[in-house]
């Protein structure tokens, strides 16, 4: 895994993919990849040097065991984040705290109050554990730190590589529907100063897409073909052998480098429905789904989870506590957990709160 990840990094630098050329490289993002290992207590320490002008950083750690973040310290040594404050909280800030895979990602800052970044050396601690959540000492990990030097956090560009899984690129309905959906996605994000740049590609990955849980290298292989500033979005025909899943994000947040979960995966078919075609309503919803799932990838949670007992940690998404209130106050929010629909129409879910927009702009991949 360690060697594989290093190889992905090298490949990612020269962008061998021949897409339609809409994307350009950027000098706002700095990527540094190193390796390290956990100490005797199973803690992997990651240092992030923040210089003048750096607005945010994204840490990606990859091991052959399980890994999750425990703590973040600012340059003065103050504890800024501690996993136990969030692990069982009813508020969600980042999935970096949760043992989900052999990789863990932290983007910082997330909320306006979390920044601006103090210059100096930030220190993040990640726990490497075995299958029984016992800490594993002296275990290797790949560490990638990306920093963003963005002169304007109110305007950002997201570079998305839309990859059609094997065979999907030959399906005119799938590609036309996806491209129309992308235009809807572009409209939604433009309202909050997020410009979407898109490049389309054809991939070798099977159209029955894997769940992005890090158990196969297929997603890493696909996203390794692209730059380290791009979000990879893979369009398949089903996910994990099922139409239950119309789209899944490889993390909250997701990484920008090639890795076990480095993509958002979507089933075009689940978004087209039983007729296998995209009408206007399907396209609108597909576009909202693309924006919703990549919103997760950029670190956004649902403002409230279905069940109305858990909320995001943002300040301006109301803490509703029942169906009527939540649908009434948040049903048109892009990140609401479900579209509010009758059987044939859904309320447009295209509203983004100021704090959601701010968190999106602070994602290190929003350049």
């Amino acid at each position: 895994m360690v060697l594989m990840a290093a190889t992905f990094f090298l490949i990612g630098c020269d962008d061998p993919y021949e897409g339609d050329g809409d994307l350009t490289e950027t000098d706002m993002l700095t990527t540094t990849t190193t390796s390290g290992s956990s100490d005797d207590n199973g803690i992997l320490t990651v240092e992030v040097d923040v210089t003048d002008g750096v607005d945010s950083f994204l840490i990606t750690t990859v091991t052959d065991w399980w890994i999750a973040m425990e703590a973040l310290y600012d340059p003065d040594g103050n504890l800024v984040l501690w996993w136990e404050d969030w692990y069982e909280s009813e508020y969600s800030l980042t999935n970096a705290f949760f043992i989900e895979s052999g990789d863990s990602e932290l983007n910082w800052p997330i909320r306006e109050d979390d920044g601006p970044l103090q210059t100096g050396t930030w220190v993040a601690e990640f726990a490497i554990t075995d299958n029984d959540t016992n800490y594993v000492g002296s275990f290797p990990a790949d560490i990638t730190v990306q920093t963003k030097d963005d002169p304007n956090l109110n305007d950002g560009i997201i570079r998305a590589r839309i990859v059609y899984a094997s065979g999907v690129q030959r399906d005119d309905e799938a590609t036309a529907g996806t491209e129309a959906g992308v235009e809807r996605w572009r409209e939604i994000w433009a309202t909050e100063g997020l410009e979407l740049q898109v490049d389309y590609a054809s991939g070798d990955i099977n159209a029955n897409l894997p769940w992005p849980d890090g158990l196969t290298s297929d997603i890493a292989d696909e996203s390794a073909n692209f730059w380290d500033s791009d979000v990879t979005v893979i369009i398949g025909e089903e996910i994990d052998g099922s139409q239950d899943y119309y789209g899944v994000s490889g993390g909250i947040p997701g990484t920008l480098i090639a890795g076990p979960r480095s993509a958002v995966v979507l089933s075009w078919l689940a978004n087209a429905g039983g007729d296998g075609t995209f009408d206007d309503e399907d396209i609108r919803l597909y576009g909202e789904t693309l924006a919703h799932e990549v919103g997760h990838y950029m670190g956004l949670y649902h403002p409230v989870e279905d069940g109305w007992e858990y909320w995001d940690a943002l300040g301006d998404t109301v803490e509703c506590s029942n169906t009527e209130d939540c649908e009434g106050q948040l049903g048109d929010n892009l990140m609401f957990p479900y579209p509010v629909c009758t059987f044939t129409e859904c309320v447009p879910a295209d509203q983004i709160s100021a704090d959601q927009a701010g968190a999106s702009h602070r994602y290190t991949g929003a350049l």
Binding site: E173, E238, Y246, D279, T289, T342, T344, E345
Partner: protein
């Protein structure tokens, strides 16, 4: 927002048959973006899963994944009971998505049901696509139908 919802409800009521409370509950369960209920859970919600899930396939067009999830549940857990319904869909225009779904699930179906549905699909409007996909089946008795 509330006004919009009320207006939409009025439009939808005029345009589509009224769901039963059970069909409404199934729809509400399937509309979620993530972590949909299992087919077993859906089945437990209704005394007549085939009728109610098929109703959703026919009438719940938004969001698209509701009908697809309902159809998948029919195929994976009620294949024999829903065979006639599926045969009707596969034989008529406007069900390409269901035809593709069928080919994705065909190897998991009881062989006699899979063969009957394959014959319907191969005689239907999406024949060429179904044929190509059935040739990839791991089940010889399915592949043979695609080459006849």
């Amino acid at each position: 927002m509330i006004t919009t919802l009320l207006l939409m409800s009025g439009v939808a009521t005029a345009a589509t048959p009224t769901p039963t409370p059970t069909q409404q509950a199934l729809y509400d369960a399937l509309v979620v973006r993530h972590d949909p209920p299992s087919c077993d859970s859906l089945t437990a919600m209704t005394p007549d899963p085939v009728t109610d899930l098929a109703w959703l396939v026919d009438h719940a067009t938004a969001p698209a994944w509701v009908g697809m999830r309902a159809a998948q549940c029919l195929l994976t857990s009620h294949a024999r009971a829903s065979q006639a319904t599926f045969e009707g869909w596969l034989a008529t225009e406007g069900h390409r998505g269901l035809a593709i779904l069928f080919t994705q699930q065909v190897d998991q179906l009881p062989l006699d049901v899979a063969q009957a549905l394959s014959r319907s699909a191969l005689a239907g409007p999406d024949r060429a696509e179904v044929e190509r996909r059935l040739l990839d089946s791991d089940v010889p008795g399915i592949r043979e139908l695609a080459t006849e």
